[in-house]
Symmetry: C2
Subunit: 327 residues, 2 copies
């Protein structure tokens, strides 16, 4: 920043000092050039925070449009919503598989195969068949819990309001960028107007010196006044620009921190619910194992002697033994 208002010094005099460019404005946002100006420390060192890494725009992967850093952050949240929906879909598919399995086991448990086996062996066999129904119940319970404790939450976490909120952020930041672009346009316009006024002053001054025209001192004063005014205009425009950029900067920091927090919450929420999935899996296997206990018990009790007693009592034809015939 020069101490003297730009308009009051003639361009010729100004050009003697070499002006080193230390900043660059890209897409209406002003950055220091590499190696110029005071070194910037990260706002949140060691945190890889969103507010530190998304200041520049970039080309989208196709290379066709310009994407702001903020839009990259926003896309991530929208993507997250899509991913949670896909996870819900996956869980839904698991639920269908479990229901099919349960249905098949239940159906088979009603089978009359070997129903005619009797005694202690028959009891054990009957319980074995029944255990399939018990297993089916376990898997059905698993699928029901998967539905209420994992799938449904994944579907309803951050409902429709979430997208609306994201859109609000999007529009808010985009509006500030538009304002910034508008302010920048004004700066450029003022800069050009100043250049024109300075050129005019210079021409008129030269003309006076070589007595080329009948321009009076009066004209030169007028030209100088206009030049000074243009300089003031430019300063005002630059001020407004910097204010608007600061405003955008603050909002960027605040909002990107908000998105960062949302992402942390998203990851932790999903982690929690996937742990619920593994808990249910554990439970299921444990319940399933216990369904085999009664079968084991009855199999241990299988007793051929007992079964013979039961069967013989039921089916004997006669216990009187033959004797020799008398004459």
């Amino acid at each position: 920043m020069h101490k003297q208002p730009p308009g009051s010094v003639s361009p010729a005099k100004r050009q003697i000092k070499e002006v080193k460019e230390t900043k660059i404005t890209i897409n209406c946002v002003t950055f220091p050039l590499p190696g110029e100006g005071p070194e910037q420390q990260l706002l949140k060192p060691d945190e890889w925070s969103y507010c530190d890494y998304f200041w520049t725009d970039r080309k989208d992967p196709q290379g066709t449009t310009l994407v702001t850093g903020f839009e990259v952050l926003l896309q991530k949240q929208l993507k997250g919503k899509q991913l949670q929906k896909e996870m819900a879909e996956f869980i839904h598919e698991r639920i269908k598989i479990e229901e099919e399995y349960a249905k098949n086991l239940s159906k088979l448990s009603l089978s009359p195969l070997a129903a005619q086996e009797e005694g202690t062996l028959g009891e054990a066999w009957t319980q074995l068949k029944k255990s399939l129904h018990d297993e089916a119940e376990v898997h059905l319970k698993f699928s029901n819990k998967l539905h209420t404790e994992v799938e449904k939450p994944l579907l309803t976490f951050r409902g429709d309001n979430f997208k609306k909120d994201l859109k609000k952020y999007d529009h808010h930041i985009a509006d500030l960028r538009k304002q910034l672009a508008s302010r920048y346009a004004s700066v450029e316009k003022a800069r050009k107007a100043l250049a024109d006024r300075q050129k005019d002053l210079e021409v008129k001054t030269q003309q006076l010196e070589i007595k080329l025209s009948n321009k009076t001192e009066e004209d030169i004063k007028k030209a100088r006044r206009k030049s000074t005014q243009a300089g003031d205009d430019l300063m005002r425009c630059v001020d407004l620009y910097n204010q608007t950029q600061s405003k955008w900067f603050e909002e960027m920091v605040t909002t990107s921190m908000e998105l960062e927090k949302l992402e942390v919450e998203r990851i932790e929420w999903i982690q929690q619910h996937l742990r619920q999935y593994t808990t249910l899996r554990h439970e299921t296997d444990m319940f399933n194992q216990s369904m085999v206990e009664p079968v084991d018990q009855l199999l241990q009790n299988v007793d051929p002697a007992k079964d013979r007693e039961l069967w013989v009592k039921e089916n004997k034809t006669g216990d009187v033994r033959p004797v020799d015939m008398d004459i």
Copy 2:
């Protein structure tokens, strides 16, 4: 049994002694009448042994044909063979259900749903999906073992030879009954022949006393000789009958004991293999539970900060912050 050969005493004299019937022959087998003769102790007390309870024939459930006690025992063994086949079929159905379940889980594990989740959360999700394939492998292993250790043995236990052996027993015992029937027919025939001879003798003796005919003492001696011979014949037939019945009795005891042993073996063999089923079920649930461990581990390691670092490094657009524009 009378001490005197039957043929030598005239029927008249015999009839004076009241003959109390103490035995009865049913279907050519001779039994003591209830309450008659020495009390019979069970051959194998407290064992409910086949050899004690299947001496009589009975009507079949439809009431149309006669079924021997031995055939009841034989039917039980044949039934047992059918039941083991039905058990194998049941296990086969379970195997199919497991294979279907495994196939579905494996297919779902390959799903690209939420594959775009990154970082530690993405790793945990990837492992969760993979765990379905691991579960599928466990169930496939279960079904394979069910096939080799339960189904196949049930199908091949006591192959075709078993039925042949049973048929041999069947024919052997049936032949002995046929022989017995044949011997009994001879007894009946001899008994009738004796009655005829005795009647003849009586008639001739009466005729002599009333001097009705010109029959001589010679004729009576001849009639008496024939009667005695008929009595000897009867005794011989009864002897042969009793021998044959004893033979059948012995074979009945031996063979029914064999069938009893076969039944004990059948029950114990099936018990053993069904216990193999429950063992495999236990194993399966335990392996299945362990498939969830790695998922649990990765879920515990989910770290939003780490994921942010990874993502930001990959996706940042620029870390140089905007500065005020100079004039």
